[in-house]
Amino acid sequence: MKKYTYTEKKDTRSGFGAGLHEAGKKNENVVALCADLVGSLKMDAFIKDFPERFTQVGIAEANMIGIAAGMTIGGKIPFTGTFANFSTGRVYDQIRQSVAYSNKNVKICASHAGLTLGEDGATHQILEDIGLMKMLPGMVVINPCDYNQTKAATLAIAEYEGPVYLRFGRPVIPVFTDPDQKFEIGKAWMVNEGTDVTIIATGHMVWKAIEAGEKLAELGIDAEIINIHTIKPLDDEAILKSVKKTGCVVTCEEHNKFGGLGESVARLLTTELPTPQEFVATNDTFGESGTPDQLMSKYGLDAVNIVEAVQKVIARKKA
């Protein structure tokens, strides 16, 4: 198992804030909009340096999505910012008609996704957003795994022409990816090469997968770990290549197993290479109040759950 270390913990939303600021410096057409959550979205640096390119919309997310779609007409590249719940479910029809169907170059940037939002509870903890967004034709869906990857992803989507959903979170987590990485939309990152099982993880679950990989190594199981940061378009080639080698797969996401990364992988494998698969994801449930660690444990999204899923799927492969 390749050794991953970290010297600091940071929130992925701060990676977004840093990426947005840098994208703003690189391209004067980058503009930002927010629905009364600039502190939570870490937009302060952008706003300080480019006040005229920032629009405070107030608590009116539907209007924000429509305005962002309109701002593309004339060449702007709008980044909208609010919590993941209010970025997707609240404004689904506005995204569907004014952004996706109209093919507008809007970047929907969503913080506080998943259970790790914590104490605010289920009203704010969306676990359905990946499914909602990947269903829209032409929508790119990205869920980066740490501060550095989120920053790199933010810069990459500014260069990409078309609608994008960028999902990130609130808690501080280890920073373990390369600060100078080149982020390629739709290209998987090989975290660890192995032969016994393929673990496919996205977002906050990538570090958990690394922790699980270390435990599995102690048990004599050689896990291949792949980071799928881009859920759509999915890197079919990387997944198929790995699964051909290992013969079984565990998908890990901080999202409902209905409609998430796991289902995208299952769709691919069912048609191309039927393979035993286990899902580490929430199971058709809402969240609740609690600390992020308590919630990840209660809802089965810890390294120990990945280890159990791997043992189960390897047993199925052998049977």
Binding site: V31, E52, R53, T55, V57, G58, A60, A62, N63, M64, I65, G66, I67, A68, A69, G70, M71, T72, I73, G74, G75, K76, P78, D93, Q94, R96, Q97, S98, Y101, S102, N103, K104
Partner: protein, 281 residues
């Protein structure tokens, strides 16, 4: 004036012929609101709007128009065709398989003249605000026009947008409401009363004007007057009274022709009331 009022009225008559023929041709669509707005569209595209016939999505330096109540697409398609955006023969494909003239307007099939999809109601004002903000950032002084149904104002997103535009002093924005008092299920007064739209928009900080949308002279003057009100810190709201179905006597003033297509006999009756002026498609 680029045209005489008589010339504009003749164009509007041809647009009305196209509307009833298009809706008859596919036996679906929305003739009532389309007919009611034929004079507005004619005035806008043939007299008021500064645009380039070589369609460019970004529209830099051009006036932009957004149709929020997308179901009255027939009137827009006909006006765009007669304005030179595409050949009028394409009007025959309205609502048919593989057509660029979808039931509701869209950019998806690449029809020149259209910059956003509409149909799901209540989204156009926000989009227009965004386009106006970009024009402001680009130092582009041209105008942004919209059209909304009155029943459409029951959608809450409009009021988010209505609050935003005056606060940000978007004074290049000229929004028109098709104030015909009708919606699918009946008169707006019975379905969900809009009450005084003038008082509502004024309370939100708009400069509100009233026009007669079925009097060509009045609508041309009204839109020119609206332009003189721009640049003064307030967006403009044009409350435009129309009759649903205007120009075809049996369709006028009732919600019953909101989304119903005429049969062969009804088509003949309608066309007899509308002289052919620019040539049918």
């Amino acid at each position: 004036m680029k045209h005489t009022i008589k010339e504009l009225e003749d164009i509007a008559s041809q647009v009305r012929r196209d509307i009833v023929r298009m809706v008859h041709g596919c036996q679906s669509g929305h003739p009532g609101g389309s007919l009611g707005c034929a004079d507005f569209f004619t005035a806008l595209y043939f007299e008021v709007l500064n645009y380039n016939k070589d369609f460019n999505m970004d529209g830099v330096g051009e006036d932009l128009f957004f149709l929020s109540n997308g179901h009255i697409s027939p009137v827009w398609y006909s006006t765009l065709a007669h304005s030179g955006f595409f050949d009028k023969s394409e009007l025959a494909t309205f609502r048919k398989l593989d057509s660029r003239l979808q039931g509701h307007p869209t950019t998806h099939e690449g029809l020149p003249g259209i910059r956003i999809a509409s149909g799901s109601l209540g989204q156009g004002m926000s989009v227009a605000i965004g386009a106006a903000l970009t024009k402001r950032l680009n130092g582009d002084k041209s105008y942004v026009f919209t059209l909304h149904g009155d029943g459409e104002l029951q959608e809450g997103q409009n009021w988010e947008a209505a609050m935003f535009a005056p606060f940000h002093e978007l004074d290049t924005l000229i929004c028109t409401v098709d104030y015909n008092g009708q919606q699918i299920d009946g008169p707006t007064k019975k379905v969900l009363n809009l009450d005084s739209l003038q008082a509502k928009f004024e309370a939100f900080g708009w400069h509100v004007i009233n026009t007669d949308g079925n009097d060509m002279q009045a609508i041309v003057e009204g839109l020119h007057y609206a332009k003189t009100l721009t640049g003064k810190g307030k967006p403009i709201l044009n409350l435009m009274s129309t009759q649903m179905g205007a120009g075809v006597d049996y369709m006028m003033g009732s919600h019953k022709w909101h989304g119903t297509a005429p049969n062969d006999e009804q088509l003949a009756t309608a066309l007899a009331q509308l002289p052919e002026t620019l040539g049918d498609y």
